[in-house]
């Protein structure tokens, strides 16, 4: 089977790259081995949040002081603004409505109640533009009885530390109580499926309206809207006070929705999405990748003019390590990683860990290389790229989006 481009990995970067290519008329197949880490995303994208422990207020400006090895610098600092705008528009076209600016970070609130710099946040989520000017004074934090993926005490304390006057209110409805029958599965995603009908939503709204007397704003864990944001809008319309959502611990409904909407958009544009399959090997000749074999289509290799590696980092098995080395498991591409395994980690889980910076070696166009030689039609995007620590810098999702769009342009010869 021959495609214009084959993308390995169906997470944020793979899907965005696939959409960009399909929009330009390419025949694209994404091979996605299981669900991606997008499923853990609470509803924000970050471009650049932090450099050397200092929060960044204008990511576009700050990018120019990043080291040359950082993916943004490889792509070119001057290209980031246009690519960021394209990404925001593409998300909106897929039905993902987010707010924010690449030139001015806002603050998102984590499930633990910590404010972190962000570039884009889902419209319905709590978003703070200026920590000195909170969007509300008194907030009612609604806590769903029996739901355990929201550490309410920590969240409330975190919000108080930010300056909110917080009242925590426990509530339930008949629909929610029914879920407690299977307590181990009382998760955000089960709640989202349970609270689909207008009557179920009305019962939630009745509780909110009855219990939140003095509050200026109501906060609810993000447990609605697995398919799209219509349930969220319905509930907001039913409540007497402004209703905002706060991210939950995984599994995350907002992340699932983003994954589903992007995949749907990609398929609508004619793209093929192979779920639960994995590329296992490829044939190289004269510095080019000719075809790849997957676990399930093993005796019929997939051919393409270009290939994109979007397999993610260690957690997604885009990178792997044994007792001897860090390696890229599909093609054994060259990686940027310390040879000495004593350097990989440092004691203390919250310390900066060297292995977070590891990834495949790429050139300025994000071409991969193998045994020191550049592969002219194989690109890497997203978390498999080296040269940054997404946890410490708050740039993971941004790199996924920006590198995906940059490579799509490299492939189609656009600017």
């Amino acid at each position: 089977m021959r495609m214009d481009t084959i993308i390995m990995g169906g997470g944020l970067s793979g899907l965005i790259c696939g959409i960009a290519l399909a929009k330009r008329g390419q025949r694209v197949t994404i091979v996605a081995g299981g669900q991606s880490t997008l499923m853990f995303n609470g509803g924000s994208m970050e471009l650049l949040g932090c450099i050397d422990g200092n929060n960044v207020s204008n990511p576009l400006e700050a990018i120019s002081i990043l080291p040359q090895s950082h993916p943004y610098r490889k792509i070119g600092a001057e290209r980031i603004e246009a690519l960021a705008e394209e990404a925001k528009q593409m998300l909106a076209d897929a039905g993902i409505n987010m707010e924010g600016s690449a030139a001015a970070n806002h603050w998102r609130v984590t499930p633990m109640g910590i404010a972190k710099p962000a570039w884009l946040t889902l419209s319905e989520n709590l978003r703070i533009d200026d920590l000195g000017k909170l969007p509300a004074k008194r907030v009612a934090l609604m806590c769903i009885r029996g739901y355990f993926d929201q550490p309410n005490g920590m969240l409330a304390q975190g919000l108080r530390d930010l300056g909110f006057d917080v009242q925590t209110i426990e509530f339930t409805t008949d629909d929610i109580t029914a879920l407690r029958r299977s307590p181990s599965e009382m998760r955000a995603t089960s709640l989202a499926k349970r609270l689909l009908s207008t009557t179920a939503l009305q019962r939630v709204a009745d509780q909110i309206n009855a219990l939140t007397g003095e509050a200026d704003m109501v906060l609810l864990p993000s447990v609605l809207g697995q398919a799209d944001d219509s349930d969220i809008k319905t509930l907001q319309g039913m409540c007497n006070k402004p209703l905002r959502f706060v991210a939950t611990m995984p599994p995350v409904v907002a992340g699932m929705r983003m994954q589903t909407l992007l995949r749907h958009y990609f398929k609508m544009l004619g793209g093929n999405y192979l779920t639960g399959d994995t590329v296992i090997s490829g044939n190289f000749e004269d510095g080019k990748l000719l075809n790849v074999s997957t676990e399930k289509l093993n005796d019929m290799p997939l051919r393409a003019s270009n290939f994109v590696l979007a397999t993610g980092s260690f957690i997604s098995r885009g990178l792997a390590a044994n007792y001897e080395r860090v390696y890229e498991p599909v093609f054994d591409l060259d990686v940027d990683a310390d040879a000495d395994c004593d350097q990989w980690t440092r004691f203390g889980i919250l310390e900066p860990q060297a292995y977070f910076n590891y990834g495949v070696t790429t050139d300025g166009s994000l071409h991969c290389q193998r045994q020191g030689k550049t592969i002219s039609n194989l690109y890497a995007i997203g978390s498999v790229l080296s040269g940054h620590d997404a946890i410490k810098m708050g740039d993971g999702t941004g790199i996924s989006l920006i590198s995906a769009l940059a490579v799509a342009r490299n492939i189609t010869g656009g600017k």
Binding site: A178, S182, P251, T275, G276, T294, N322
Partner: protein
């Protein structure tokens, strides 16, 4: 050495690789509609730890599992979740006898043989309200279900009378595992396959012995019988592998998945030598066209808008790509590829009274997508999805091979391939 140590630490069903991320539960169609089922993480890898300690920890709720395999497809860590659940069910069923209803539903070929003999009576009787009510109360087969109509003439009978003789005259050859549905209910699909294969220069041959693939036997806990039949089929496919029609084509995704993957995984039958001989017809044909070994010529005036539904087992095999790309070759076909959702029937599951409501609730998302797609028909590679979607949406559902046969200009295709 280091690599091997890591691999050796895994048990056969690799449940240790579960990271408890719960993604499997988010895609489980059963957990989505009922709190009675604890979800694949709990039923699979989590419960397995307890069952290893003491089999008494087996939870009867595991019988609610559809075996749709969506959990395995979604798992980022490659855990064989559905296999763990099925094995636990298999172990718990040892010493228990399947009910008459389950035995009857599972024996699709026995039921078919009898029903074919009396097809007009069977079809009329099975459709009558009193019959349905008796089946509902006595047999616990839901009264809302319509049994697929039985054909008066078996596919194999038609083949012997009308097609078998000329098959040797073609330059190339394949075998065909028709399955129960084609043989007893819908011989037209088998005839369509013969028509298409002949047009591209391939003679079609039956296997020496074909029995029901056993997918329903496994689902209903009749493992011994499933294994007997699986051994017969595997031997027949092995026999065909040594002839000039060594590739065995299928037109049902569930039969294919069962023959290739469930035989080794569930019934412990080693089919590694012939597994790659078994191919869905759409995959085989797509590849012939792709490698420019054959040409397809389509009717000029063909024009239809059709939605493609990926059956759960099709997705597990990962072969939907071939059916979709083959259909996309038809110039007049406006193909809408639906988001993958479970239709809820899962073979015989939805026929059972206790599962009917759940089955329809599971399918409701898919039915809504189909309605929104505004199409005149639905294409899918699975016959039980077909029954479910036809009953629930009122739209006709066709196998991609039948659509291909309909769109093909047979004479022009024969000429283009020198036949």
């Amino acid at each position: 050495m280091a690599e091997r140590m890591q691999i050796c630490n895994l048990s056969e069903n690799n449940f240790e690789q579960c990271t408890k991320c719960s993604i499997c539960t988010t895609v489980c169609p059963v957990a989505a509609v009922t709190t009675d089922y604890p979800g694949p993480k709990q039923a699979g890898p989590d419960g397995e730890r307890y069952r290893l300690k003491d089999p008494a920890y087996f939870d009867k709720a595991l019988k609610l599992c559809l075996n749709c395999k969506r959990c395995e497809v979604a798992c980022p860590s490659g855990v064989h979740i559905a296999d763990i659940i099925q094995h636990a069910r298999m172990k718990a069923s040892e010493g228990h006898r399947a009910s008459l209803r389950d035995t009857m539903l599972a024996n699709t070929d026995l039921l078919g043989t009898v029903a074919n003999l009396v097809a007009p009576i069977a079809n009329a009787t099975l459709g009558l309200k009193p019959t349905k009510l008796v089946m509902h109360s006595v047999m616990a087969i839901d009264k809302n279900r319509t049994f697929p109509a039985y054909s008066r003439q078996k596919f194999t009978t038609w083949f012997k009378r009308h097609a078998a003789k000329e098959q040797d005259s073609y330059p190339n050859h394949v075998s065909y595992f028709h399955g129960c549905y084609v043989n007893y209910n819908f011989p037209q699909l088998g005839q369509d396959l013969v028509k298409v294969m002949n047009a591209i220069g391939y003679g079609v041959h039956m296997l020496e012995k074909e029995q029901c693939c056993g997918v329903a036997l496994i689902a209903n806990g009749l493992y011994k019988q499933a294994k007997r039949q699986a051994n017969v089929n595997t031997a027949s496919i092995r026999q065909a592998a040594g002839t000039n029609h060594s590739t065995v084509l299928t037109t049902s995704s569930s039969c294919t998945f069962n023959l290739r993957d469930e035989y080794p995984a569930m019934l412990d039958i080693d089919n590694s030598d012939i597994r790659n001989n078994i191919s869905l017809a759409t995959r085989f044909i797509y590849n012939l066209v792709d490698e420019e070994k054959v040409k397809l010529v389509f009717k000029q005036d063909y024009k239809r808008r059709i939605a493609y539904h990926t059956a759960c087992h099709m997705q597990r095999m990962g072969w939907q790509l071939y059916s979709i790309e083959l259909l996309r070759m038809i110039p007049g076909l406006d193909l809408q590829v639906l988001e993958q959702e479970c239709c809820g029937i899962s073979g015989t599951y939805g026929f059972k009274k206790e599962n009917y409501e759940r089955s329809q609730a599971i399918g409701s998302i898919l039915f809504k997508h189909i309605e929104d797609a505004q199409v005149e028909a639905v294409a899918t590679d699975c016959e039980t999805c077909k029954w479910q979607i036809e009953m629930s949406t009122g739209l006709p559902v066709e196998n991609p091979i039948s659509i291909l046969a309909d769109a093909l200009d047979v004479e022009a295709t024969r000429r283009a391939n020198g036949i």
